[in-house]
């Protein structure tokens, strides 16, 4: 439970950000930004539920009546404007926009705000240029506090244990979905508040598809299996990928994995304070290119992790953001051979004064399992 003081500090920081980027206000929907600033959590929906934070003046929460009692119970530090099903909430948005008429500057919109909500908001703030809330939120959320890191570490420990649990029984003969459910149950039984994203289990040729999820394919002897999964503690995500082989490891798989593992270790060594994010990507990419797997590595090296499973800093060519202590991101090189197999190794690391510290510690060798 976030204290009132922390939430007030965060809102103040958003206001300072609005001054810095010359914006009059920022509008948040049901998102991780909303959770970060108010503690309020729900899935996004078609009903208008937005928090308007102006550069000057009090925040306003526009909220459907059926949420109103839940919100009031939290005694939020903002003006509530409640509307009922059948009312037109855009009238309230226009009122709020009118109250800010004297403040100059753009209006920022939550990055994940649905267009069905964003369009009427843009119309209410007619004449103002639109920008993204990340212009002020990225800086705030990218550097994790000790409390945030602790949640991520607990999530990481649960994730490590879930892997051991899932591999304690033979996986040959299970379907991908069955193994995915086993991993998810183990995380929930282990104390997770939820899973972080749809669990990926890709067996055999499916492992060559980096964004495959899990299907009805039954795992067969000799096959590569990639498992990519994570859970949440207080909203903060873990994210791990491990690759296993059912039975004997063929040389082509072994060679590709060895290069991926070296790329992972090299990138982690490079992930130090002051280093631009793209240098970590280059470190991994160079290792794989030198080993002849340049073409086989078809995605960025990683992404930031926090309340979102994908958030800044992205570990990608073109991102010159310098790493700082408290930044958390995945390092996940892979190599994919369409029609045949793929391998990937992923841990989330946190940048510390002493280098990048992984949040997950499950063995990183290519495991042969039953």
């Amino acid at each position: 439970m976030l204290s009132r003081r922390v939430l007030q500090q965060r809102i103040s920081a958003v206001r300072r950000g609005l001054s810095r980027v010359d914006a009059a206000a920022v509008v948040f929907g049901l998102s991780t930004n909303m959770r970060y600033l108010t503690g309020f959590i729900d899935e996004p929906g078609e009903r208008m539920l937005v928090l308007v934070v102006p550069r000057d003046g009090d925040p306003t929460l526009i909220v459907p009546e059926l949420y109103a009692n839940q919100v009031r119970a939290r005694e939020p530090d903002c003006t509530l404007r409640v509307w009922a099903d059948g009312d037109d909430p855009t009238l309230i948005v226009r009122d709020v926009a009118r109250e800010l008429e004297t403040q100059t500057g753009r209006v920022l919109l939550d990055d994940t705000l649905w267009t069905a909500i964003a369009l009427p908001v843009q119309q209410a703030f007619a004449g103002r240029e639109a920008g993204l809330a990340s212009e002020v939120m990225t800086e705030l959320r990218m550097r994790k506090t000790l409390e945030e890191v602790e949640c991520m570490q607990r999530a990481g420990e649960i994730t490590d244990r879930a892997l051991e649990d899932a591999l304690s029984l033979p996986i040959v003969g299970q379907t991908e979905i069955e193994l995915a459910r086993r991993l998810e149950s183990a995380m929930l039984d282990g104390g997770a508040n939820g899973i972080a994203f749809e669990t990926l289990v890709a067996a055999g040729p499916n492992s060559a598809l980096p964004h495959y999820r899990a299907g009805n394919r039954r795992i067969e002897p000799g096959e590569v299996v990639i498992m990519d999964f994570g859970c949440r503690i207080e909203g903060y995500c873990s994210d791990i990928t491990r690759t296993v082989v059912c039975g004997e490891v063929a040389p082509d798989i072994d060679n590709a994995y060895a290069a991926v593992r070296k790329a992972h270790a090299t990138a982690r060594d490079r992930a130090k304070r002051g280093v631009p994010a793209q240098e970590v990507d280059r470190a991994a990419r160079n290792v794989l290119a030198e080993a002849g797997y340049g073409e086989a590595f078809c995605h960025r090296t990683g992404h930031g992790v926090g309340l979102d499973v994908h958030e800044p800093p992205y570990i990608v060519e073109g991102n010159s953001t310098r790493l700082e202590p408290g930044m958390a991101f995945s390092i996940e090189p892979g190599a994919y051979f369409p029609g045949s197999f793929g391998v990937r190794l992923e841990d989330v690391v946190i940048v510390t004064e002493g280098g990048a510290k992984p949040m997950t510690e499950a063995p990183r060798e290519l495991r042969a399992v039953e």
Copy 2:
């Protein structure tokens, strides 16, 4: 698996819709609309993955490289424009927009498209007014085909059985989350492809919060418990709510539930071909108002259900859409008494020539359970 022919027909229908509403193109993100039109499924993310359907000319799918092989394997009927991590995909969006320069009219955006994707798309289509994809999609998706209804019925049957499974053991002493997990496991074991939304289990005073989810409260004797849950078959959702009481039923609970049940039955009787959606809402609302529970019913009577768990038609005051065979929506009156308890009864119904037919048949009386 959707046949190529069905997908082609749907794209043609979108094109006719664009002509009708005077739009040059519509841009879809990773959404249920994308699934409906291409069969392609994934969670929305920060990477630019959009389908541009012009009024004239071939559709274009702008797709990140790591999805490219999955997409190619489906042999989609559209031009693929692939970009790699580190590239700037907005350059491709601008190219596509330029190719459509000679076509007049607005650009429509997927209703759930993230603003971080929608803003650069709007900039690429500079000078065009923006609208929502629902202007063309609602008409298409609102009337379900036999195949779609069959998926929803299978989902409904699994949901009914999951309730019986969960109530076959005493629920007193379980936490809300434990009961929610039990319902979800029963649906997955019963053959569901996934759950439709985060399961709601609200016990005691939590039942008075219509949008509560599930927490660590342990269910106690005498308490009301609301369970609101559903699953998916081929993407199509079920959605049911049942209210139970642990042990003896207090008169105030019994009276409120009796009114809600009567409102539910009355609304269902009213849900016939040709009747405006708002009349179904009024039918439920009048029953509750006459019984003295007008204030306690603080939300609309229902929402459409299909690939989205909330979609048109909304059963709400102000919606004059006339019901037609094939429309599927929830009927879910409730009564909520803050600090004390709440009750709700929900089934999804499908409009047929013979009236509204429920997709779920679990007993509708107020059940006393252990």
